[in-house]
Amino acid sequence: MTEPLLFELSSPGRVGYRLPELDVPETALPEKYLRPELPLPELSEREVVQHFTRLSQLNFSIDTGFYPLGSCTMKYNPKLHEEVARLPGFARIHPWQSESTVQGALQLMYELQEYLAEITGLPGVSLQPVAGAHGELTGMLIVRAYHQEHGDEGRTVVLVPDSAHGTNPATAAMCGYKVATVPSDPRGNMDVRELERLTDETVAGLMLTNPNTLGLFEEHILQVAEIVHEAGGLIYCDGANVNALLGIASPGELGTDVLHLNLHKTFSTPHGGGGPGAGATVVTEELTPFLPTPAAARREERESTAAATEYYLDYERPQSIGPVSGFYGNFGVMVKAYAYLRSLGERGLREVSENAVLNANYLLEQLKGYYHLPYDRLCLHECVFSGKAQANLGVHTVDIAKRLIDLGFHPPTVYFPLIVDEALMIEPTETESLETLDAFVSAMRQIAQEAESEPELVRDAPRTTPVTRLDEAAAARKPNLRWQG
């Protein structure tokens, strides 16, 4: 089906709003500033609802199916969270209200900071970054500010493993750093000897992901941290994969100096079709003075005999890198993450990681006879296969991905990490049942079989979707980015 665009549905004279009459005297409008025309569509409420509802039905989503996207942690989004984030006392408070009128919001932020510090073993927390890459930028600006504070101006290089997310090198570049790539070893770890060779007094830090994007725990993590720290560098950890480690190991205990957390991955807040997220950034005690301002803080006010607790926004951080977004971060997302942590507690968090890792290893084991497994060892929260055997039959990873859609599943992350040929990166999360995992295994095995017996079927997929494969080359050659009638 094709749903017409708002602009095609528009008809002159239709309105979808009901606004009140003006109840004060009119003031003359300043003619010279007025726009002659406002070219927005004209629709009734009924049409708008129908249009967007129909569009929603063209989407795959967590609520409708299994989403094994590696590195994205597409876990279930609890419904309670949507309800509480919409409470008037959270959704309809203004960021510039005086602190005394938003004590509940500040308390929630303060306590969330405390919980995240406890979970990561890193005491300094900023809730201000609004996405993972935004947390990375915050973290690397902190690394830069730390070296500057120590008069260490010669550190111009940031080390990034070849398996890293693309945001890592892009972030380092935004902070003015040159990027040097650290290769992986045959077991899927960062190559420690190469790391030693590359690490010197020009290195500001290492951006690492642990477990890495192969879903593998860095086996030499303590040694890696020692090498970088010895040379005066800092360890930045990309927290995209923290769903593997909740209550299992604290990044702070593993030598991390700076870490960002994706509240929209690990702490169950929804992805929204590409945001809003939240990329809380946590750091060691030593780096806390460099965090963005403000942070939620608490003080005890002594009035006569009774002590009253008061929450406030602390702007007193002279060494801060400065603010990174308009206000205090994505507060609505924080409410959801807070509700999640209060629901789970310590034991619940550990269960999350245990089951996420169990599910990933189960898929690894069930699929390894069918797809090439480049690193054959226990994984953590995700596993990475290569479609190269199928590619030799003329069926590429993109085809496998599209065929999965016909069989009712969202595809895994594909062609990433870059170091695995024809990569298929699978992250089941903890919120999928064994029945779902088994159905996915059956589908993947079926496709492996079809690649041999009926390759055309796979190459022509998907056939069950609202549209078939789209011409991306044409879209890029002559970009049509807005409707022009």
Binding site: R35, L38, F52, L55, E83, I248, G326, L481
Partner: protein
């Protein structure tokens, strides 16, 4: 199990058996033993009822805008949100979807982004818009970086009437890039001081960056500013209030090269500062330097219309350290709220909202100006205006709160020369009764001094 986990003990035993393991602990033996299983001092788990009660308790400690007349703006606004908006963004198919990397199963999200991009262009009078930035502040910062890439220059001349917080975020974002940021002040009418701007702009300037209407509420002609900027080969970057664009001339018609803005006003509540959405649009010729995601129209293998993420070679997952930005996640759901809002309001509704704001704000401003001890400053404005108060702005706000009214934004921290001034905002949400109660309270405060 409390963690939204469907796996039963029997399932786990079966899975472990297939893995040839005896316990879950064996999955984690790769982690150094002395670092395994730290104790986490977290509050005990709560039931759904208990969590709800706890959160409601926290929410009720806040003075919300359903129960308090609010005259605060300064970058976050209390506008009406039609019921349709929350209904649409509450659909699981939208809010529990991922970034639309697989277009065949993401036409819903992709189509709404294409519509959003189109309507942002329509509002701003620009050629292309992206799928959104994080918020207005980061949109400004990315616009500064983009102007530097386009012009290969590293100087920015920024109006002091651009939101103070946005200017700070711009400094944060550019601190690693070695950019030279200078500020240009405002004149008597509250608009950019043209003579000073002329002096500061030069052959090293990448962009002149202004706000429309500006942080102090003033509305100004952008044409002379674009002429000054273009005269030295710099771009004009304009940060907008999208509601104002329902009534006032589009920046694109006045020579703007990049238009950014905070889109929260379009269908999202103030939500204590986030999630918001950054609007970002530019002229066609700068398309290859635009940061963030873009959705384009194309056709499928059967010739049907469809939408895809496009021009991805600008982005971090392809270009890595050579990308136009590190941005990855944007604010798709908030952009959907904005698209839904604009669809509902449409051509006539947005203009009507803007007119209601304009008339109510002007009524309130002139009545306050007439009160003994108060004075309105500066020239032409839209919905925000500056008033000089007879007692300190902080005192005024505290006394207003005693009347249950959330007052204005004190300017002392950002503009010491306006230390005795408040920035007030009046929108369509403020009824005549609310405005009257504000006037009455202000009169009382003035009389008591």
């Amino acid at each position: 199990m409390s963690s939204y986990i469907p796996t039963t003990d029997a399932d786990r035993r079966k899975m472990l058996e297939i893995l040839g393991l005896d316990s879950l602990q064996e999955l984690f033996e790769v982690i150094p033993p002395e670092k395994r299983y730290p104790h986490l001092d977290l509050p005990p788990p709560l039931s759904e009822m208990e969590v709800k009660k706890l959160l409601r308790g926290l929410a009720e400690k806040n003075a919300d805008l359903d129960h308090h007349p609010c005259f605060l703006g300064a970058g976050a606004y209390h506008h009406f949100v039609p019921a349709v908006v929350d209904h649409i963004i509450s659909r699981g198919e939208f809010y529990t979807a991922y970034t639309p990397y697989q277009p065949e199963v993401s036409q819903g999200t992709l189509t709404t982004i294409y519509e959003f991009q189109t309507m942002v262009c329509q509002l701003a009078g620009m050629d292309v818009a992206n799928a959104s930035m994080y918020d207005g502040a980061t949109g400004v910062a990315e616009a500064g970086l983009m102007a530097a890439r386009v012009t290969r220059r590293d100087g920015l001349v920024v109006a002091s009437t651009l939101h103070p917080r946005y200017r700070e975020v711009l400094r944060t974002y550019t601190q690693g890039m070695g950019m030279d940021i200078q500020e240009v002040g405002y004149g008597e009418d509250g608009g950019v001081d043209l003579r000073q701007a002329d002096q500061l702009l030069g052959t090293g300037t990448a962009a002149l960056m202004v706000q429309y209407p500006n942080f102090l509420g003033s509305l100004e002609d952008l044409q002379p500013l674009s002429e000054l900027a273009h005269g030295v080969g710099a771009l004009l970057v304009v940060c907008v209030d999208p509601i104002a664009l329902g009534l006032f001339r589009a920046p694109g018609e006045q020579g703007a090269d990049i238009v950014v803005g905070e889109g929260q006003s379009l269908g999202s509540p103030p939500s204590y500062g986030g999630p918001y959405v950054g609007l970002f649009a530019c002229r066609q010729k700068y398309l290859r330097q635009i940061p963030g995601r873009l959705v384009g129209m194309t056709t499928d293998a059967d010739g049907r219309r469809g939408f895809v993420l496009t021009l991805q070679p600008r982005e971090q997952h392809i270009r890595r350290e050579k990308a136009t930005s590190n941005i990855c996640t944007n604010e798709a759901l908030v952009a959907l709220a904005a698209a839904t809002y604009l669809a509902i309001m449409g051509k006539h509704g947005l203009r009507q909202v803007a007119e209601l704001c304009y008339h109510k704000a002007h009524h309130a401003a002139s009545e306050i100006d007439a009160l003994p001890g108060y004075e309105r400053l500066f020239g032409q404005f839209f919905k925000e205006f500056v008033i000089r108060t007879p007692v300190s702005p902080a005192t005024v706000n505290a006394l207003l709160m005693e009347h249950g009214i959330i007052g204005g934004y004190g300017l002392e921290r950002d503009y010491p020369q306006l230390g005795d001034c408040l920035l007030l905002c009046v929108t369509e949400m403020n009824t005549k009764e609310e405005i009257d109660s504000l006037l009455e309270a202000l009169r009382e405060i003035g009389d008591a001094r």
